[in-house]
């Protein structure tokens, strides 16, 4: 049984199911409100699964396990941060944000500060963060499809674009709420079932992880498609077919320790027990160091861990697709309860990528040669289990991966498109409902096609790393805006604007430098790769400082806004009733 048809079938089933769920929702999407945020009548349990479904992206499903294989213990901070981010969100913004009644961060800025220029800046940032987050989803889709079926690397992303556009265009948010909730369970089961079998196989074999450099567990043929520089740890003889160090090679080749250049379209054969040459962009570390905290072989690992924790914990609240989900809760209390369920669901899910990453180190270390470690989760079932069961479980994992790309990509597309259609195609606000929905559909196309084009030349960047940059930007801009806006009366429109600009420019500059220049040594590289630890405090200081300096601009009716954000809904309803009786 070849794995290709099973994988293609899995992708097709997930894609068709998403579109069907989308058209199912169409019958119920009646008003513009339905279209954008499901009219806020989704029950907390559905909503929690939908939030989980939307949140667990390519980075969670594929990226974490791949990073664990390559870097080891330090990567565990990613899933912990992804979960703790919701706890921070719960404590700081969940209920007040829902009570503000805003659809998006720009809406929140408008409601809290009443200044169109802050709204505009926030809109630009939503689009940038959304695009930064969409790129790795589409990259992941391309990687999955090419790993599993040998399709060209541009196809997977295109499939995701098409399915998302059809699903979003026909149903809007309501339809994807149901689709998202189902996709959470699909993703969870797609990792859980194979994990049970993997554990059984591992127990049965009684394999242990050695302490030295990773060794191939069995005869493996590695195809190197693009020229790659690898580091060989100890002198060894490998079968190479293609070119090595600029000379054509065919047959056994003695490799001295050090770096070697493998030419494009070369295949390298690893026999059982061979030490795997490791691509130079990844750390070459012994497994003993891989197991240890701060042993990941990057510079300044303690700073990197701490800054990453800050970025993820504070960035979660600023992600466009996460925020928009909170408006589908009926009220502030339900927004909090939903968040607790989300944290429980994420906690269960995130036990699994760790397991896959650790198994990956033992059973698919050859990925270190090409550096395509994001494929760890996809390859493990077939490699470890083999046979028809392995193929079936591999197809299940592929389905789960596509569910991950589709759900996150559609959630992001809806929220980015919402902002584009409201704030960029601004005139549409005055027009009728059909025009508004048409402009939303147009905006959806822009929302996903741009990141698709960006994803094509950036295949070499790790999934979780790009997602980490999106988190850092969100943490450095929206987190201070939301936190100060909700908890501090003194925030002014000018202060918010200054903070958004400072945080946005600093974080974007760091992100761009990291992606384009790729510095890889010393403090400057560490500071630029993980900008949250310095950019977030700077933004807070700017917002507070400028707000204090422009104290006179604090809204006169800030008290009323605070009532709206913090008073429980029943009390607010009574206030409204009271106001009605006295003024009538």
């Amino acid at each position: 049984m070849s794995s290709q048809p099973a994988d293609i079938a899995a992708v097709a089933v997930v894609g068709v199911a998403t579109v069907v769920a989308g058209s199912f929702g169409l019958r119920r999407a009646r008003t513009t409100g339905d279209f954008y945020v499901a009219s806020r009548v989704v029950s907390p349990r559905w909503n929690a699964a939908a939030i989980g479904g939307e949140y667990l992206s390519a980075a969670s499903f594929l990226g974490i396990a791949g990073l664990i294989l390559a870097y080891g213990f330090d990567v565990l901070w990613y899933p912990v941060g992804y979960t703790a981010g919701y706890l921070v969100l719960l404590a700081l913004v969940a209920a007040p944000l829902r009570r503000s009644g805003a659809y998006t961060v720009p809406d929140f800025a408008q409601i809290r500060l009443g200044a169109p220029f802050v709204r505009g800046t926030a809109s630009v940032l939503v689009v940038v963060i959304g695009w930064l987050y969409l790129v790795p989803q589409l990259q992941g889709a391309s990687l999955t499809l090419s790993t599993q079926t040998g399709a060209p690397t541009w196809t997977g992303g295109l499939v995701v674009c098409a399915v998302v556009l059809v699903a979003v265009a026909v149903g809007g948010m309501r339809s994807i709420t149901f689709a998202q909730a189902l996709q959470f369970w699909l993703k969870f089961i797609a990792l859980l079932l194979p994990a049970f079998v993997l554990i059984a196989v591992w127990q049965h074999r009684g394999d242990t992880v050695g302490r030295g450099y990773p060794r191939a567990p069995e005869h493996t043929v590695v195809s190197v498609n693009v020229a790659t520089t690898v580091r060989v740890q100890a002198a060894e003889t490998l079968d190479v077919d293609g070119s090595m160090d600029g000379a054509p090679a065919s047959g056994p080749l003695r490799l001295a320790p050090g770096t070697h250049r493998i030419g494009a379209h070369t295949s390298v054969v690893l026999e059982r027990g061979d030490v795997v040459p490791i691509v130079t962009s990844l750390p070459a570390q012994r497994t003993a160091s891989w197991l240890r905290p701060l042993g990941s072989g990057t510079d300044h690992p303690l700073y990197a861990s701490l800054s990453l924790i800050i970025a993820i914990c504070l960035g979660t609240m600023g992600l466009p697709h996460v925020l928009v989900r909170f408006y589908t809760n009926p009220d502030g209390r339900d927004a909090r309860r939903t968040t607790v369920v989300v944290i429980a669901l994420l906690s269960a899910f995130y036990l699994l990528p760790t397991l896959y990453g650790a198994f990956g180190r033992r059973y698919v270390p050859d990925l270190l040669l090409t550096g395509k470690t994001d494929a760890t989760v996809l390859l493990l079932p077939e490699r470890m289990i083999g046979g028809d069961l392995g193929v079936l479980l591999g197809a299940l994992v592929t389905a789960g991966a596509f569910a991950a790309f589709l759900s996150t990509a559609s959630g992001l597309t809806v929220s980015v498109a919402g902002v584009i259609s409201q704030d960029v195609l601004r005139r549409s606000r005055e027009r009728g409902r059909p025009q508004r929905i048409r402009s939303f559909r147009l905006a959806a196309v822009a929302a996903i096609v741009v990141p698709y084009l960006l994803s094509l030349p950036s295949q070499h960047l790790g999934l979780a790393a790009v997602v980490g940059l999106a988190f850092a930007l969100a943490a450095a801009t929206f987190c201070p805006l939301l936190v100060l806006g909700i908890w501090w009366r003194g925030l002014t429109d000018v202060g918010a604007l200054a903070g958004l600009i400072v945080g946005g420019v600093l974080a974007t500059a760091a992100v761009l430098t990291t992606i384009v220049v790729r510095p890889d040594h010393g403090w400057s590289a560490a500071l630029l790769a993980q900008p949250a630890a310095w950019a977030v405090p700077l933004t807070f200081v700017t917002m507070v400082g400028v707000s204090v300096a422009t104290r006179a601009r604090v809204r006169r009716d800030v008290g009323l806004v605070m009532v709206r954000l913090h008073a429980p809904e029943p009390v607010v309803a009574e206030i409204a009733a009271l106001a009605h009786t006295t003024r009538a």
Binding site: F73, L76, W77, V80, G81, T83, A84, Y86, L87, V88, L90, A91, L92, A95, L291, R292, P293, L294, L302, S305, L306, I309, C313, R333, R336, R337, T339, V340, I343, A344, S347, Y350, L351, T354, A358, W487, D557, G559, L560, M562, V563, H566, A567, P568, P570, V571, E574, I575, L578, A579, T582
Partner: protein
């Protein structure tokens, strides 16, 4: 000789007359943005803010503490439970129930603050 003080009528407070003293529900103070209303609102916001800050600092201490502990005491990595190195067990498994418990506590506490506020402003 001074004139005796004018007679005054003393009523027991538990009568209709006493109860009908000018009463303004607190909710009206909030509606009209009076100083008293502001005080009610500030007390709610302050209690919720205190909760938020304490939870966020707990998370900070927990995560930064774990990260620093593994940095200053690398021999922790050699301790194994059930064959798994202690740091992996802590960060891969044990931290999650702690996060869930904190979330549950946050929600319960925030709802309690809101109930107290609702009772306060409805009292007449």
């Amino acid at each position: 000789m001074t004139t005796p003080p004018a007679r005054v009528r003393i009523t027991h407070p538990r009568t209709e007359a006493a109860r009908r003293a000018p009463v303004r529900p607190a909710i009206r103070e909030i509606d009209e943005q009076t100083q008293l209303g502001e005080i009610y609102m500030s007390s709610l916001i302050r209690s919720q803010r205190r909760l938020a800050i304490s939870i966020v600092s707990t998370i900070g201490v927990l995560l930064a503490g774990l990260s620093l502990a593994t940095a200053v005491a690398p021999h922790l990595a050699e301790v194994r439970m059930f064959g798994i190195p202690l740091p992996w067990l802590l960060l891969g498994l044990i931290v999650y129930p702690v996060l869930i418990a904190l979330a549950w506590y946050t929600t319960r506490h925030a709802e309690r603050n809101e109930r107290a506020f609702a009772d306060l402003v409805r009292r007449r």
